[in-house]
């Protein structure tokens, strides 16, 4: 097996065989999955609320209240998964009747609730121009019914007031349901047919959202993998194994092997996280109308064209190569993480600069300043995923990729020398030492 691949294989297995790796890999999907499904399951496990209505208004609004309750009947089968338990109208408990006073009714309420079958009894009264609803529930159920029929009960007040002012009930209903038609447009969005709000949203802002998400992901992935590389080399330096390795393989093989291994670790993590995301997305999609799903998938396919994906990968790989090789080379000078701090600190600050611009970049991805910054190779991998969503001219893409490629090659060349020098010396690392290594012609191989 090729030495580089052999080194990559060893490094990869060394990473993935640790318990810590699997714990950290499973943590995120578990947290995301848990934060989605646990509340759903909790809602799903909520019992059906049985509700009785005691209409003391004299206006016979009981029917309207029961209709509002029926709108929240428990849903059958899978449709119920995203819903809470629901409401079920039941008959008034014995001892309660519409012709009793509010005070008398409320005096009997504890016994009525205890006798069942209602877990909540809605007592409706009328003070002339306003309806009053007092919702009596058994202990522990307070607020559950109100959460579900709050706006229906407000609606009854709305229709009452309309009736008092001589407005026809049908008209009042139309007024209550009526909304202005508000649409935001761009020439691009106006060109396509508008079928569904969600799909239109994906078409309109999907590229930007995905761009910024990928920018953040790229930053996190590059930073975390660079730290992994740094730690791995520091461990080898501390255990004195680097000299043995350098007597068997070239510094390039060692560096590239390590970079490949961490990339493979990253792919493993992303693979699992991707599967989790796919599972969650599939679940989410199964709860959307088929037409919406079709439109959203179409819009996503437009945003995620094969070329777009290839470019995103190219920017990520370029960035990973630049920073990964740099941090691995730094590691060769250090025997502890503390030794590396002098160099990591300033480099982390450089990496932070593009992330600081993200908030502005999201709202105005076409700002000239952002364009200039994205041409700086150390910022390119973080800013270009966002800018790609704007449809860039080919020369910008080619130019930024080439800039990153050149810096990547320089990093490999300097990193190779630094790695070798660092591995064989116990000297302190400084920017001055790095500069000397970078500028010396070919000393030390």
């Amino acid at each position: 097996m090729n030495k580089t691949l052999l080194i990559a294989r060893r490094e990869y297995l060394a990473f993935v065989r640790t318990v810590g790796f699997w714990l950290s890999m499973l943590t995120l999907p578990l947290i995301i999955g848990g934060s989605i499904f646990i509340p759903l399951l909790m809602r799903h496990s909520a019992p059906v609320e049985t509700v009785a209505v005691l209409d003391l208004t004299g206006d016979h609004i009981e029917g309207a209240v029961v209709e509002a309750i029926r709108a929240h009947l428990p849903k059958p089968g899978a449709d119920r998964l995203l819903e809470s338990g629901g409401l079920q109208p039941v008959a008034l408990p014995a001892g309660l009747s519409p012709d009793m006073s509010l005070a008398a009714a409320e005096a009997r309420m504890p016994q009525a609730l205890a006798a069942g079958p209602a877990s909540t009894i809605i007592v409706a009264t009328d003070s002339g121009d306003k309806l009053h609803f007092r919702l009596w529930s058994v202990d522990g159920h307070k607020g559950r019914v109100e959460d579900q029929i709050l706006w229906d009960l407000h609606g009854l007040q709305y229709y009452k007031l309309a009736g008092m002012h001589g407005i026809d009930h049908g008209l009042a209903h139309d007024m209550r349901e009526s909304r202005a038609d508000i649409i935001s447009l761009t020439p691009a969005s106006a060109a396509g047919p508008k079928k569904d709000d969600l799909a239109a949203g994906v078409r309109e802002n999907g590229g930007k959202f995905i761009g910024i998400a990928i920018s953040y992901l790229t930053w996190i992935a590059i930073f975390s993998s660079s730290m992994i590389l740094l730690g791995s080399v520091i461990e080898e330096k501390a255990s004195k194994v680097l000299e043995v390795l350098l007597a068997s393989a070239s510094a390039e093989s060692l560096l590239i092997g390590k970079v490949l291994a961490v990339a493979a670790v990253l792919m493993t993590v992303w693979g699992l996280w991707g599967l989790t995301a796919f599972g969650l997305a599939s679940f989410g999609i199964s709860n959307l109308p088929p037409e919406t799903v079709r439109d959203v998938m179409g819009a996503l396919a437009a945003v995620f064209s094969p070329l777009h994906i290839i470019l995103l990968l190219a920017y990520f790989m370029g960035g990973y190569l630049m920073f990964g090789v740099f941090f691995a080379a730094i590691g060769a000078f250090c025997e502890t993480q503390k030794d590396a701090q002098a160099i990591i600190g300033p480099m982390t600050m450089i990496m932070m600069i593009p992330m600081i611009t993200m908030q502005v970049a999201f709202t105005s991805p076409d700002l000239p300043m952002l364009k200039y910054m994205s041409w700086f190779p150390l910022f390119t991998p973080f800013l270009m995923p966002l800018r790609l969503s704007q449809g860039l001219p080919w020369y910008e893409i080619a130019g930024t990729l080439a800039g990153m490629g050149v810096v990547g090659l320089i990093m490999i060349s300097v990193g190779r020398r630094a790695f070798k020098v660092g591995a064989l010396t116990g000297g302190k690392l400084s920017w001055g030492a790095l500069f000397r290594i970078a500028t010396q012609k070919s000393a030390n191989g």
């Binding site: 030495k3 000299e243 043995v244 007597a247 068997s248 030390n444």
Partner: protein, 306 residues
């Protein structure tokens, strides 16, 4: 016969400091060569240049007929600062490092297990390095350096940190390597190992070669001694033929004195003894001593390294 290793006018400079200066020597194939010198003499710097880990500032190195770094698969190397992957098992480390030397995993595993058995570590093949003792780890390191059956073995201070029993074991390994035709170059500052093992020695001091040759030639560089015991005066002894200088080694139990007489180059102990008896000097005991490599080393390097 083509030499396994050849250095011609090799120098290494680190800034203003010249670690190695104009170093030239050759090591014949199938021999054991001691690369000797006190700490800081430039041995490790020289070894790193031989392996291509660092480039010489000047001069040329040929190793197994090629430039340094071009025949790494045919070389076994054990550095002075030993280190292995602590979380890997002994056999996995051996197989991995053999893989880097181009040996198939199945072959390396088979050889590695046999070598571990031979070193009494068969039961530890599946143990992580961190669970092994220092001596065991050093044995695993040595096996890793030899498992690919190298033509040239370079060992940088191989005896340091080993107890006497393991030092003896390592000497046997080195002899066995030479017996099967491999060339061995080992650096050390402990002369006794070189004295027992080497056919050829190269002495280094302050970055420069001070001697290259056989053990006999090295010893010849140091003055031989004639120890004489009796009622003898310094003036009497200095008057003997071939005596360059004398040193009073103190009184003996019977009240006589022990003198160490240093012989001049080209003179033998016989001449001085014969003259002493002819002159009727009170010589009660005598012993002609060949100089040790340690003594030769002190003379050649001009310092006591230990």
């Amino acid at each position: 016969m083509e030499s396994a290793l050849s250095l011609a006018g090799v120098s290494k400079r680190f800034g203003d400091f010249e670690a190695v200066r104009d170093l030239s020597f050759e090591v014949k194939r199938g021999t054991i060569c001691g690369f000797l010198g006190p700490n800081g003499a430039g041995k490790t710097s020289s070894v790193r240049m031989m392996l291509g880990l660092s480039e010489p500032t000047a001069g040329r190195i040929t190793i197994l007929g090629k430039a340094p770094g071009q025949s790494l698969e045919r070389i076994g190397f054990m550095p002075e600062e030993r280190g292995l992957y602590r979380k890997m098992t002994a056999i996995d480390v051996i197989v991995f490092l053999a893989g880097l030397k181009g040996v198939k995993a199945s072959v390396a595993r088979q050889r590695g297990k046999a070598m571990l058995e031979a070193q009494g570590l068969g039961a530890f093949a599946g143990k992580q390095i961190r669970s092994l003792s220092k001596g065991m780890s050093q044995k695993v390191q040595l096996i890793s350096c030899l498992v690919h059956e190298p033509e040239l073995v370079i060992l940088d201070e191989p005896f340091s940190g080993l107890d006497p029993v393991n030092q003896q074991g390592l000497e046997q390994v080195i002899r066995e390597l030479a017996r099967r035709g491999a060339t061995v170059l080992f650096s050390t500052h402990v002369m006794q190992h070189a004295e027992r093992l080497c056919e050829q020695v190269v002495l280094l001091a302050k970055g420069q070669k001070v001697f290259e040759g056989t053990l006999k030639e090295a010893r010849a560089a140091a003055p031989r001694h004639l120890d004489l015991e009796g009622n003898l005066s310094e003036a009497e002894l200095l008057g003997l033929p071939g005596i360059a200088s004398v040193a009073d080694m103190g009184a003996t139990e019977d009240g006589a004195r022990l003198w160490q007489c240093h012989l001049q180059a080209g003179h033998t102990a016989n001449e001085a003894l014969k003259a002493a008896f002819l002159r009727g000097m009170d010589v009660r005991r005598f012993e002609a001593k060949e100089p040790s490599l340690h003594e030769a080393f002190i003379v050649l390097t001009g310092s006591n390294h230990e």
